[in-house]
């Protein structure tokens, strides 16, 4: 379970302080598919970075499946990211000159999994996203949709509890975007917790719950179908 209690994130810039998040509190249960939405500057990326242990809150408390972020050092956070989290980014963030296999294998290089076991896991993850025939192709040679599928395979390879997706369809055409969201939906149906940051209503519709931020605070938190039908009806 993810438990966020009154977390704030302040940035200091040229002597003045900006508050990107203001005492945000919510809970995400295991197996949920949550979309975080909001206009630019609302704090959704900041929230995702804190939830994914890549940044720390200035104040407040954050517990990820019983592990309190404020009690952990950077190495412990890295270990949790490695074993219990998967990441999908808008810009794919693949190693362009490395092969699909090498990209998917990346998180396992920092784990304690044996090389023989590693191979099986990588091949399974590549197969799960339907890219087996591209295993030894350089990532830079793939289409946008294929690149994002590689990124999903990389996020899945360590069998994480939670997958964080930051605008995963932002750089894709609508068809590829639909495919990616279908994959994420299936993963959620298979039991993975998905936390998605998006500004696209269409993408958010794949989630079950929506947290809408405005000026660093939660504006709305509820079921996607209810919120979208009220807020975006006719748009």
């Amino acid at each position: 379970m993810i438990l966020v209690e009154k977390i704030s994130r302040n940035y200091e810039n040229d002597g003045s302080e900006t508050q990107a998040l203001k005492e945000v509190t919510f809970k995400i249960n295991s197996g949920e598919f949550v979309a975080i939405m909001g206009p630019s500057g609302s704090g959704k990326s900041t929230l995702l970075h804190i939830l994914s242990f890549m940044d720390r809150a200035s104040t407040g408390s954050y517990s990820f499946f019983g592990k309190k972020m404020e009690d952990m050092n950077d190495t412990e956070l890295a270990n949790v990211r490695n074993k219990e989290m998967g990441f999908v980014f808008q810009a794919f963030n693949l190693l362009g000159r490395s092969t699909v296999y090498q990209n998917v294998e990346l998180p396992l290089l920092y784990s304690t999994i044996l090389p023989s076991e590693r191979k099986k896991l990588v091949e399974k993850a590549i197969n799960d996203v339907g890219l087996t025939e591209k295993t030894n192709v350089e990532a830079s040679r793939l289409s946008g949709g294929q690149k994002q599928r590689v990124a999903i395979a990389r996020a899945l390879v360590n069998n994480p509890n939670v997958i964080f997706a930051d605008e995963p369809t932002g750089n894709l055409d609508s068809h590829s975007g639909e495919n990616i969201m279908q994959i994420l939906k299936k993963l959620n149906e298979a039991g993975k917790t998905i936390i998605l940051v998006t500004h696209e209503t269409y993408t958010a519709q794949f989630a079950k719950r929506l947290i809408r931020l405005k000026d660093g605070e939660i504006e709305i938190d509820g079921e996607v179908k209810n919120i979208l039908s009220q807020t975006y009806e006719g748009k």
Partner: protein
């Protein structure tokens, strides 16, 4: 991260920037090659000098006037220009009577201008007897060596070292010609074969040999000796011969307290040790000069690694996002730096060895036929150690910069 994965990742990183990696390595290649080359030449020169001294013979003892302060590696008092007149003809006579001594030769030396025609050189002249050439095994190339008669009759004749003959006469035949030395005319009766370095590092090829009495009486106006060369009897140990010489000299010079000895006895072994010491210092000096280029190469590595860290900021962010710790990132970049310098070191060793071999071929064919090829294992191990250490030392700063990157900021880097 496992070391094998770290190596694989680092090699992949370098493979993706091949040209840059090769150019970065170049500094280390040149530095290591220079160290190997200079160490090789230094060792070859050391071997040559020592072998030339060894060629003189193994049962030789040299007596020089004045005591040495400090260790046996300290220079004798005469080296500081102090004229010590303690070694006399009486000492030579006493040595000749001792059964442990086979041959004895006194020597005096001085500096003067030697002139033939328009050629005028600054030369060292040695006043010697015929035994001198036998004791230190000098060979004549043209004409003859000095003999007893030259000395007894105080004939002004000279035997030239090979280089002094060349400088004075060029391509002309020196034997039979007259040279002027300190305003005295000397008839050249012989020219020595190329000898190289003699005892105490003397440059025999640039020396002019004249009868000792002529040198003592007419050129220097002295009756003492600058050194006595002794060839021991092979039936006696060198230590015994040394002890006999010591007691003869103490008796002749009325010395009862050994601390007040006014002479120094050195064996060929001592001379070899001194020469070995000098040439080793020379080798270290040469290698130190070459090491400067290694430092420059190391700074080059650091510079390029820093550029690489900036270029790969997003990659660092990604690796951190998927679980790399600061230590993993540091290990990766440090491994890259060490691989770069180690491969550079290996290529440098091969290049340096190849170049040393070419120099050996050139020197042995055109200059010194006795020149040998030397590639000491110690220099190879030193070069490998140094290149790896350079990678470690100059790689640490860029690796630390990489490891300290914040994953969020790194992923946003454009």
């Amino acid at each position: 991260m496992k070391v094998s994965d770290s190596l694989k990742t680092a090699l992949t990183g370098l493979k993706h920037a091949k040209t840059r990696a090769i150019l970065t390595m170049l500094g280390i290649v040149i530095g290591i090659a220079s160290v190997i080359l200079l160490m090789s030449i230094g060792t070859s020169a050391q071997k040559l000098i020592i072998s030339q001294v060894e060629d003189i013979g193994s049962n030789l003892v040299f007596v020089i006037p004045g005591a040495t302060q400090g260790s046996k590696f300290s220079p004798p008092a005469s080296a500081f220009g102090i004229i010590i007149k303690t070694l006399k003809e009486r000492d030579l006579e006493s040595f000749r009577k001792d059964p442990s001594i086979e041959k004895v030769a006194g020597e005096v030396h001085g500096q003067a201008r030697a002139v033939y025609g328009n050629n005028d050189i600054s030369a060292t002249y040695n006043g010697v007897t015929g035994e001198y050439f036998e004791i230190i095994n000098l060979k004549v190339k043209k004409g003859r060596l000095l003999n007893h008669r030259d000395n007894e009759t105080m004939t002004k004749v000279a035997v030239l070292g090979s280089e002094s003959a060349k400088k004075l006469f060029g391509e002309k035949e020196p034997v039979g010609k007259n040279i002027r030395l300190k305003n005295h005319s000397f008839k050249v009766v012989g020219v020595l074969a190329k000898e190289g370095t003699g005892v105490f590092g003397a440059d025999l090829d640039n020396t002019i040999f004249i009868p000792i009495l002529v040198a003592q009486k007419q050129l220097l106006g002295v009756n003492h000796y600058g050194a006595i060369f002794i060839q021991g009897n092979n039936n006696y140990s060198i230590e015994f011969i040394k002890s006999r010489i010591t007691s003869i000299l103490r008796q002749n010079h009325n010395i009862t307290n050994p601390d007040k000895d006014d002479f120094e006895i050195r064996t060929q072994e001592d001379v070899l040790a001194i020469l070995g010491n000098i040439t080793s210092i020379l080798k270290i000096f040469l290698a130190s000069i070459a090491a400067i280029s290694l430092v420059v190469g190391g700074i080059g590595i650091m510079n390029i690694m820093l550029v690489s860290v900036i270029e790969r900021t997003r990659e660092i962010g990604l690796r951190k996002a998927v679980g790399a710790t600061n230590a993993d990132i540091m290990q990766q970049f440090l491994t890259e730096a060490i691989i770069l310098t180690s491969i550079g070191g290996l290529v440098g060793i091969i290049g340096g060895a190849g170049f040393s071999f070419l120099i050996y071929l050139g020197i042995s064919k055109f200059a010194v036929s006795d020149w040998t090829f030397a590639l000491p294992l110690s220099s190879i191990l030193l070069a490998l150690g140094v290149s790896t250490t350079i990678g470690l030392v100059f790689g640490i700063y860029p690796a630390r910069q990489a490891s300290k990157k914040n994953p969020v900021e790194a992923l946003r880097y454009e």
